[in-house]
């Protein structure tokens, strides 16, 4: 069965564009703004949205997402809130893939089966859990397959070939390639050996590849487009929302995405 994620990548392929996947911390700066941000950034060129579930101990995240998560937690946002936000956005954005991204403990506390069922009922297409390697993922993968939720896994530059194979065995939707060993956060440059890393990942899967961590501008997107199907950006967008000099949160986010999207057109592949 074709999923929204499959359709989105097929459309991008047909148009010769690099996919843009944007991360929003749900409830940053507040829930009402998250609900306005999502349609606005889609309008500005975003193809898929990661709905970030705030967590008290985000150990894979840099300062930007730590702070946005703290704000969201102070606003009382929980996994339940994120599921509700997903449901509301689904009605406004019928075709845009919505991915829930968050740490494992809130999902465990919610109940894995209940989470997978509820996520699909609210219109989510996939789930990304940065602290859940394939070794521990059987319960979530099982529940997600049963409900029709894609399980998107991360591969890092430090992953051995044996690990890449193990990750790709349980991955669905696309593979999230972590550009650099480190936490999330905007960076000046992508690492010089990115192409070699992506070629290694490609040998283990036929799924689309999306590259995240550090993606901050149109040049990064253009570079990623040469070897991968999509670019994921999070901290740079949150920074733009948080501290732009003019306009409100939504205007700043839209401007940032429109600028980034200049790197997504006319995708040049080098294989």
């Amino acid at each position: 069965m074709k999923t929204r994620i499959d359709d989105s990548f097929a459309m991008l392929e047909a148009r010769g564009r690099t996919g843009l996947i944007a991360y929003l911390t749900v409830g940053f700066p507040d829930v009402e703004t998250t609900l306005r941000l999502a349609p606005a950034i889609v309008e500005a060129g975003v193809d898929m949205i990661e709905l970030g579930v705030p967590y008290s101990d985000p150990l894979a995240d840099g300062v930007t997402i730590q702070r946005s998560s703290q704000v969201a937690l102070r606003n009382g946002v929980t996994l339940q809130t994120c599921l509700e936000v997903c449901g509301t956005l689904r009605k406004q954005l019928p075709l845009v893939p919505l991915l829930l991204m968050g740490y494992y403990n809130p999902i465990l506390a919610y109940g894995i089966d209940a989470f997978a069922r509820e996520a699909v009922a609210r219109g989510a297409d996939g789930v990304i859990v940065p602290d859940l390697p394939p070794e521990e993922a059987a319960p979530l993968v099982g529940a997600s397959r049963a409900s029709g939720l894609e399980t998107i896994f991360l591969i890092a530059p430090t992953s051995t070939d044996r690990r890449m194979e193990a990750v790709c065995r349980v991955a669905s939707g696309f593979v999230y390639c972590v550009s650099v060993a480190g936490t999330t956060g905007a960076r000046e440059q992508l690492p010089p050996d990115l192409a070699i890393f992506l070629d290694r990942v490609r040998r283990h899967t036929s799924l689309p590849l999306a590259v995240g961590f550090g993606v901050s501008d149109a040049a990064h997107v253009r570079e990623i487009g040469r070897r991968a199907e999509a670019a994921i950006f999070a901290s740079a967008l949150i920074d733009a929302i948080a501290k732009g000099s003019s306009g409100d949160h939504v205007e700043r986010a839209s401007r940032f995405v429109a600028e980034l999207a200049r790197g997504a057109d006319n995708r040049v592949r080098s294989r």
Binding site: P58, G62, T78, N105, L108, D131, A156, S159, V178, G182
Partner: protein, 412 residues
């Protein structure tokens, strides 16, 4: 020696680092290869005679092992009832059991060719032990420590600096041990190729709970032999404080298959379990994932980790090592909580009766013993792990006593 039938604890954890439903590896993919490398280095070291000889040699001549077992006759008389034996880890180099694990992991890092060491610390005892071993082995040492802990354990901050370590103050979250571990993990994710994370307790992703237990098991092995030598038999109880649980698992590991030796872990009850201002993960927590392992955790209904409180920085942690969760679930060990003020009373009691200033962490175990011993016949023996010395805590205790005195004055 009567060994138990049924499950042998010696086979745990399994290959994936699971103790029953607990443990495992819940970390970002970036770290997985490093955990596999560490696991391999640890396995190789176990059969490497040179490694074992060097660790043994440093344990004796550098760290001062074996530490004594002391029959605390005055304390036993004062309390009444059972006879109390103290395993004197406070006399190990740097003043706590933490040196056992720091030496072991320091040598492992050397073996892996990693010259940059990062560590987290709560009370500062593990930070001091890590800084000490790095000074001796000539490695760079960076210690993450919560702002709040730096304030209440100031003497240890200065000790670490003297030993050449860089201290990074952590201002996020509750500004204590939990947040220091978060920051250490973020550093490790970023610098994993060159860096070994010298984790100080029996927590975290596999293989840490296993290797920390193994490096701390020297406590239990020695104490078991010393009890046999001094009393002619095994103790009736083995008792230790539990924060992350490394000193307790080190002690318990030697007695786990001796089913009639009762194992009791004492957690920090803080200001009382009812108000939520405590750190008793096993007594009052629920199953969750924190810092890479499934274990008992203090969390809310949404799965967010609670902030904790204990007068003792070393116990002020919302999680616990996965093997303790397994020992609790299987019924092999039991866990209790002791509140701040009772720990302070026990701290003073040991000072007064035996001339030993204990750390606030094991003072929790002593406070439990002060309640337990009088209920037992005088032939009963209690083995208590005195995991560290209390010089670092004198100021905290002075403040607690002042506060108590002013409450009394107000009441008059």
């Amino acid at each position: 020696m009567a060994r138990s039938a049924g499950v042998s604890y010696e086979t745990l954890p399994d290959a994936g680092g699971h103790f029953g439903e607990f443990g495992g590896k819940f970390v970002p993919e970036t770290l997985m290869a490093a955990l596999e490398e560490l696991e391999q280095a640890f396995e190789d070291s176990k059969t490497d005679a040179d490694f074992q000889r060097e660790l043994d040699d440093l344990s004796r001549h550098y760290a001062g092992r074996p530490t004594p077992l002391y029959h605390a006759r005055n304390l036993s008389r004062e309390i009444g009832g059972a006879q109390i034996y103290l395993k004197r880890e406070d006399l190990a180099h740097t003043g706590a059991h933490k040196i056992n694990n720091a030496l072991g992991q320091g040598l492992l890092a050397q073996r892996m060719g990693k010259r940059r060491i990062i560590a987290e610390t709560g009370a500062g005892q593990h930070g001091v032990a890590a800084a000490t071993v790095c000074a001796m082995l000539g490695m760079e040492c960076i210690v993450y420590m919560g702002e709040e802990d730096m304030r209440r354990q100031a003497p240890n901050v200065f000790r670490m600096k003297l030993l050449g370590a860089t201290i990074v103050s952590v201002a996020s979250g509750s500004r204590t041990l939990k947040d220091a571990i978060n920051e250490a993990i973020r550093d490790w994710v970023t610098n994993v190729a060159t860096t070994h994370y010298l984790l100080g307790s029996a927590v975290g992703p596999h293989p840490y709970p296993l290797l920390v237990r193994d490096f701390q098991s020297v406590i239990g092995r020695e104490a078991r032999g010393q009890m046999l030598e001094q009393t002619g038999r095994l103790p009736d109880y083995a008792i230790a404080c539990v924060g992350g649980g490394s000193n307790a698992i080190g002690l318990f590991s030697a007695f786990i298959d001796d089913r009639y030796v009762k194992l009791i872990g004492v957690e920090a009850g803080g200001l009382g379990l009812s108000g939520g201002r405590h750190a008793a993960s096993l007594v009052a927590g629920s199953v969750g994932v924190l810092h890479g392992a499934k274990s008992f955790v203090l969390q809310d209904e949404a799965g967010l980790i609670n902030e904790t409180h204990s007068i003792s920085a070393g116990l002020d942690y919302p999680g616990v090592g996965p093997e303790h969760s397994y020992l609790k679930a299987s019924g092999r060990a039991s866990y209790v909580a002791v509140e701040d003020d009772r720990a302070v009373d026990a701290f003073q009691l040991l000072c007064r009766t035996e001339g030993i200033i204990p750390a606030l962490e094991p003072s929790h175990a002593l406070a439990y013993v002060a309640d337990l011993a009088p209920t037992l016949p005088s032939g009963t023996t209690l083995l208590v792990n005195l995991s560290g010395r209390g010089d670092k805590d004198v100021e905290t205790v002075a403040k607690a006593l002042e506060a108590k005195a002013s409450v009394r004055t107000d009441a008059r």
